[in-house]
Symmetry: C2
Subunit: 365 residues, 2 copies
Amino acid sequence: MPTVDVHTHIYPPSYITLLRSRTTVPYIRSFPSSPSSPDSDRLIILPGEDSPSTPSTSRGRPIGPEYSSLAHKIAFMDTHHIDKSVISLANPWLDFLPAREAGSAARSINDEVDALCAEYPGRLYAFGTLPLSADTATIVGEVERLKGLRYMRGVIMGTSGLGQGLDDPALDPVYAALERTGQVIFLHPHYGLPAEVYGPRGGEYGHVLPLAMGFPLETTIAVSRMLLSGVWDRFRGLDVLLAHSGGTLPFLAGRLESCILHDGHLKKEGRTEGRRGVWDVLRTNIYLDAVVYSEVGLKAAVDASGADRLLFGTDHPFFPPLEEDAKEWHSVNANYTAISKAFEGNDEAAKAVLGGNAMRILRLD
Amino acid sequence: MPTVDVHTHIYPPSYITLLRSRTTVPYIRSFPSSPSSPDSDRLIILPGEDSPSTPSTSRGRPIGPEYSSLAHKIAFMDTHHIDKSVISLANPWLDFLPAREAGSAARSINDEVDALCAEYPGRLYAFGTLPLSADTATIVGEVERLKGLRYMRGVIMGTSGLGQGLDDPALDPVYAALERTGQVIFLHPHYGLPAEVYGPRGGEYGHVLPLAMGFPLETTIAVSRMLLSGVWDRFRGLDVLLAHSGGTLPFLAGRLESCILHDGHLKKEGRTEGRRGVWDVLRTNIYLDAVVYSEVGLKAAVDASGADRLLFGTDHPFFPPLEEDAKEWHSVNANYTAISKAFEGNDEAAKAVLGGNAMRILRLD
């Protein structure tokens, strides 16, 4: 059974050119090199990480060829015994583009990524990118076009939707098109939480709080809003793969279901009955990647959605090796270790998570 | 082995009087009764839940005698076979008081709660309340005074600390006093997350998002900030009981540890080495209550901190029965069920979580 990485990003060359052409977040900024920081190009994509008060070592991250080079991706896969990767444009995708540019940019990027996959037949597949700032017809058109591209297997999407989140009813035609064409949404965070929640000392902790807390909490809130707005009551066949093992949804699902049941307002409006429950959606419509860096988290993900709905991932090229000369990535091995510990004595389940589930769910060759 | 509830709140009579005397959040507000809402008194404590745009059914919650009556507390305990309860003032405690009033209010409330416990010897204990808006000497003085009160076993605390969060170094004398006197902090959320994270439709979902997401995420961020600022490196004997099974810390601990290890800024500052790791603190200084409403969450909590560090709780008087005439509380039974399922075939561990751990850790008679 092959090993498949479903959470692995790329900024294809045209996207790098786009980022270099910009002067505000998201962009690539060249800092004058100094003895203590030899990397002069930094990728600055997160909201708030470009403020003048942010220490330069917290401002973005060094950007090297691993962000855009397919050869680097394949070498990384070989080092870590990954047979197939389902690559996706990294955040913030095309969310920031003006409406008039989004449609053509999405078509061009999707064609480019599909062509990249064709360079390594059988090893690379992809999630496409939607022009979410464009009008609905343009977005739906791209969903339908993606269905016809050889290596595309779904779409990656942030949490902002058309600008008002994923519980926005204006997204219904997009959800309908994705359900109709059988394409999975890979739901991925980017916007995090407002900086105030990290307090006045938040900047001292580098990127830790936005990445370790902001990202998973953003995902969890986004999927909860989808649930509460009845997305899966209306689109019972809509499948969503949640990044980072669901943010924290497996852990909070019980509390979420309890809070819905106990809510006086929802009850008065008759909305606590007849809806699909959190656990039902978790076990029917939601897939989780296995990017959680611990046996504790991985087991909770398995308990929540089932071992047949969990898919191995790496988050490459983020979280690179801890030592400059290391070949293997600590972050990848942490996820491998979590899987082997969680499934000790159950090789079949481990193989399913490592690749079998992705092969089946994403219909890989 | 007795069953002990460590997460159970009370608003003692003097606190109710205080809330009734106020006209802004937190307060008790009387709405004119109507055929559809017979309850005219509503307890409005959460930031943002009193805005004119909030539907009245989402504005606060009905308040009855179960919030302040000891007889109701004892009846609730009897119904649910709870032998002992460690009661605590409910949020937002005394956080909102002007500095000059806080010290005497804390002394008076703590004496009142200790006296309430004396009415049912052996059945009631308490966590005290600190005057956190007062000067440090006053706060430390109250920590020391609490140590001498018969039924006090620690303090309940929100996440705002002295106003700048729990990673504020100005809290060090308070942490030192708590460590020195061997009193546990029961860390409890109140402030949630800024309303913007719930999006423009957040209000339609009643209290679900602030309670199911905001509360646990607030706790998780607060404890992560404590970790990052080195609180447990400086106070290695400081014990903290986290509400709602740690918010989501058990699930996110792996990601948090990984993000610390990989952070370029922390690394350059030499702060990734020599610190105590997340798992070490989880298994040495942190206790978790078992208020998580699911077997999935409960197992993750056990895996993260150990079955000897998990303590049964109910969150009474919140999440009352779903049906008006029900005697048993669905929310309580959800937590009982999670424990019995998670520990099927391991009665000793179940008994420890239900009461044995609390007896030992809080030195109950």
